[in-house]
């Protein structure tokens, strides 16, 4: 029996879909787990695009729920990893096409067969959110180091706790160590202070994410990507391994190095 994990954030654009794609791919790639990712963002689907599987969609989640097709028919096998599957959302319907009970039913069926069922939650806290969390027993909260994103994450954690979720885990996405160092960005401790939940990982800002998203190839499989490395660490932690947070120190600039040379400014 597998586990159902919902990836949620409240705020849009913080990286739920990217995180779902990378954790899903990571679990299949590094741990050879059987994984299915569900795109619960009906009407604004993206996970298929990020996975590069858009053109393979024939049936979708709504078709399964409405009995137009069998569950197996709607599952799309990933093009690189054969134990990784996607259940895409419908694009021409809306969130009301599915009820929380139906989602729970679907997740229950899927976890019989898969080690991990990852649900990519839509932004917001309305019907789509309620659908996405209905079948899940664990939650991963994604936030960015911005006050607004953290505020929304806090709200969502509250809702999850009210819905009976124990210990949601946190991923802080798009952190820029140089800005944190200058004091221009909330640092990890600030965020943990407010949210007070377990930290699952910190993902540095990385332009390779943009490239990999556009190409439909998750960065977790990219050895040279820093964000990919961070997602590989997240994957290992999910599997119970104890992996220290990766160092996010920035290379000192030339000026700083010269200053260091003259002892004008000690390296911290």
């Amino acid at each position: 029996m597998g586990q159902v994990i919902v990836i949620t954030s409240g705020k849009g654009g913080v990286g739920k879909t990217t995180t779902t794609a990378n954790i899903g791919t990571g679990l299949a790639l590094l741990k050879h787990r059987k994984v299915v990712m569900i795109d619960a963002d009906i009407g604004l689907r993206n996970l298929d695009v990020v996975m590069g599987l858009e053109n393979r969609i024939v049936y979708d989640l709504v078709d399964v729920v409405q009995g137009v097709c069998r569950l197996k028919q709607a599952l799309i096998r990933d093009k690189r990893f054969e134990n990784l599957y996607l259940l895409p959302a419908a694009q021409t319907k809306d969130k009301t096409a599915v009820s929380p009970e139906q989602m729970k039913n679907l997740c229950d069926q899927l976890k019989e067969e898969f080690d991990y069922v990852l649900v990519d939650c839509p932004a917001g806290i309305e019907q789509g959110f309620k659908n996405a969390i209905a079948g899940a027993e664990k939650a991963i909260i994604v936030t960015t180091p911005e006050v607004s994103a953290v505020r929304d994450a806090d709200r969502v954690i509250g809702l999850l706790e009210a819905a009976g979720f124990e210990e949601p885990q946190l991923i802080i996405n798009r952190i820029r160590p140089d800005m944190v160092k200058r004091g221009d960005m909330m640092d990890i401790d600030d965020i943990i202070d407010i949210l007070a939940i377990d930290l699952l990982g910190v993902i540095p800002e990385d332009e390779r994410i943009v490239i990999s998203t556009n190409r439909g190839e998750p960065a977790v499989a990219d050895e040279s990507s820093k964000a990919g490395q961070a997602y590989r660490n997240v994957t290992r932690r999910l599997e119970g391994e104890n992996v220290p947070l990766m160092s996010l120190d920035v290379e000192p600039t030339l000026m700083e190095r010269i200053k260091m040379l003259f002892g004008l400014r000690a390296r911290k």
Binding site: G43, L44, R45, G52, E54, N55, R56, I57, V58, K79, Q91, T92
Partner: protein, 202 residues
Amino acid sequence: MSQKMVVIKGTRDGISIILRRRSDFETIRNTILEKLQKGGDFFKGGEARLLVKEGHISQEEMEQLETMLKEYGLNLKKDHPLYTIPFPTPPLPETLILKKTLRSGQRISYGGNVVVIGDVNPGSEVIAKGDILVFGALRGMAHAGAEGDANSIVAAYRLQPTQLRIAGVIARPPEGKSAVPQVPEVARLKDGVIVIEPYYLH
């Protein structure tokens, strides 16, 4: 529509009895009778016309009504029972012409041919019983011959679909970046496989 079967209206020329015949004549007659009884002497000496909005009243039935109305002092001008002429419902045109760009999440499904004068963006769907012609870039999903017509085609000024379906056959473009077509192209079924060819006039 829950319009009443019998409506009695006063007009400049007297009383109009508007009929929508949805049941037997007996019911209609009884309904009129009931209204006349309620009116008492009100109708006395008046003139009545009959306006038939639905169904048909025969000559014999007209006479029955005339007799009945006379009892209440109403004179039926039966020289012209008025029939309203229903608007002829035009048959659905075979081709739907859409002058707009279909955006993600929009879906057009039509029981004929579909012509899009605009683009069909990724994430949108065009489904037609017949052919699909796009005077623009087709980047979304197109399903021609959706009810099984294998002779249906999909043609586009720039054919770059996410996925193509003709009758029961599904095709998707090869992986990786494919070159943008420089000419209009047509997709059709050949031996159960979707093939794409440049569009030439033969």
